[in-house]
Amino acid sequence: MKQKRQDTMNKIDVNEKLIVKDLHKHFGKLQVLNGIDTTVSEGEVVCVIGPSGSGKSTFLRCLNQLEEVTSGTIIIDGYDITDKKVNINKVRENIGMVFQSFHLFPNMTVKKNIMMAPVTLKKMTTEEAEKKAEELLTRVGLLDKKDAFPIELSGGQQQRVAIARALAMNPDIMLFDEPTSALDPEMVGEVLDVMKELAREGMTMIVVTHEMGFAREVADRVIFMDGGVIVEEGSPMEVFLNPRQERTQDFLKKVL
């Protein structure tokens, strides 16, 4: 993966996949993130939970700079992505993102949705991208839908295509922003299954979610956020069964 980076980037020698230092984000006067510090190791699955408005989605969106940070640093694979000199487009090629409402391209077929980025960014030839798309669609169980348009798919199917689309760039980190929140209950399972499979294969994943069952089962670590800070983090056992903070206890009482 390293050769994908630009030579001009200053590499900082670290072992962690992702390091976040004192991250702040303000929208005008509204302070959404008030100093986030955390690290994520290679292959780790981190679930971020918390009440709405706690800043967890904003935190996730800062990690691929969909939101520009107000202050603080984010180091991914040793490169400080908040540095203005860093080519953010190159960085994003290695970070897949899955959105709450899928955001598939409605004017392209399922296969074209997946092929678009690798072909446009000249990472693959059309033939390679096509092969890759079919491979990924097989993986998410939707090969028979390859020529359908997004509008013809159910929500769960659309989200599985969106995951395949993000994987087409061969990212080494995947960000999930409430991937099952917009789905009908009976479709949540099929999407979570794909994500579990991905976790088993060793993908580094950061998942903002309300699916406590998923967090408990799959996460290596759970982060509880509230008021723009990390209130508590630890293994699912620690956070779910033995929360130390009162705010965590309150939240879990409401959602479990």
Binding site: N64, L66, N89, K90, R92, E93, I95, G96, M97, F99, S101, H103, L104, F105, P106, N107, T109, M116, A117, T120, L121, D147, A148, F149, P150, I151, E152, A162, R165, A166, M169
Partner: protein, 230 residues
């Protein structure tokens, strides 16, 4: 009323005018699209000066009748330019194209802007998150979708522009209406002649509508199979 005679005598004359109507329309719409795209991008730019220029242009064009715009371009501008270069002449054809393309450009700019704004923000975010630059996102993801949304308004504007060429008869452009006026001047066959003129317009605009229906169908985001099931 002698419709047969009008059909026989006036048709060659009117066809000549029709040629000019179609020619001026196509050239002016093509230039108008370029002007419209530029003005749209200017109006959406971060630069306040560019935004202001586009806003003033659109404001003036939309706030004044095209007949007045045509008079200013054809009679007004030459008078000013002749102060500097006395030999300057502007023919009706050029003045007509300038007027119509400036006019269409203002409306098209707003149509394009509306189309771009109609594309959900998530589309841009999805493309950017995959590593596409801003411009590649615009070209690959936003503009194709914006175009689809804009098709009905675009066709509408093309229709208006084609019909507005008739206004240019007032500056002496020898288009369809102008030719008809010449013919009725000597034949006094008002009813038959103008009905014939109306029919000519109806035919071109119907052809355009057929074309636009075809384009709109081609841009449906569905496979053929599901469309049949509807």
């Amino acid at each position: 009323m002698d419709f047969g005679r009008v059909l026989r005598d006036a048709t060659p004359l009117l066809l000549e005018g029709l040629k000019l109507t179609i020619g001026v329309s196509i050239i002016a719409i093509a230039i108008g699209i370029v002007i419209g795209l530029f003005m749209c991008l200017m109006k959406m730019s971060k630069n306040g000066i560019l935004r202001a220029i586009a806003a003033v242009y659109i404001w003036i064009i939309r706030g004044t009748p095209m007949l007045v715009q045509a008079f200013i371009v054809f009679f007004g501008f030459p008078q000013v330019i002749q102060l500097l270069s006395p030999s300057f002449r502007l023919d009706a054809f050029t003045a007509g194209i300038i007027t119509l393309s400036l006019n269409a450009g203002a409306y098209l700019a707003e149509i394009f802007r509306g189309g771009i704004m109609a594309v959900p923000r998530g589309q841009e975010e999805a493309a950017r998150s995959l590593g596409l630059s801003k411009s590649k996102t615009m070209i690959k993801v936003v503009l194709p979708q914006a175009f689809k949304v804009s098709i009905p308004s675009l066709v509408n504007q093309f229709i208006i522009s084609i019909k507005d060429t008739s206004i240019l008869s007032c500056i002496g452009l020898a288009e369809l209406v102008n030719k008809a006026k010449t013919y009725v001047g000597s034949s006094y066959q008002f009813f038959s002649t103008y009905i014939l003129v109306a029919a000519f317009y109806l035919v071109i605009i119907s052809l355009l509508m057929i074309l636009s229906n075809y384009v709109e169908k081609r841009f449906k985001y569905e496979t053929k199979k599901t469309r049949h099931n509807e």
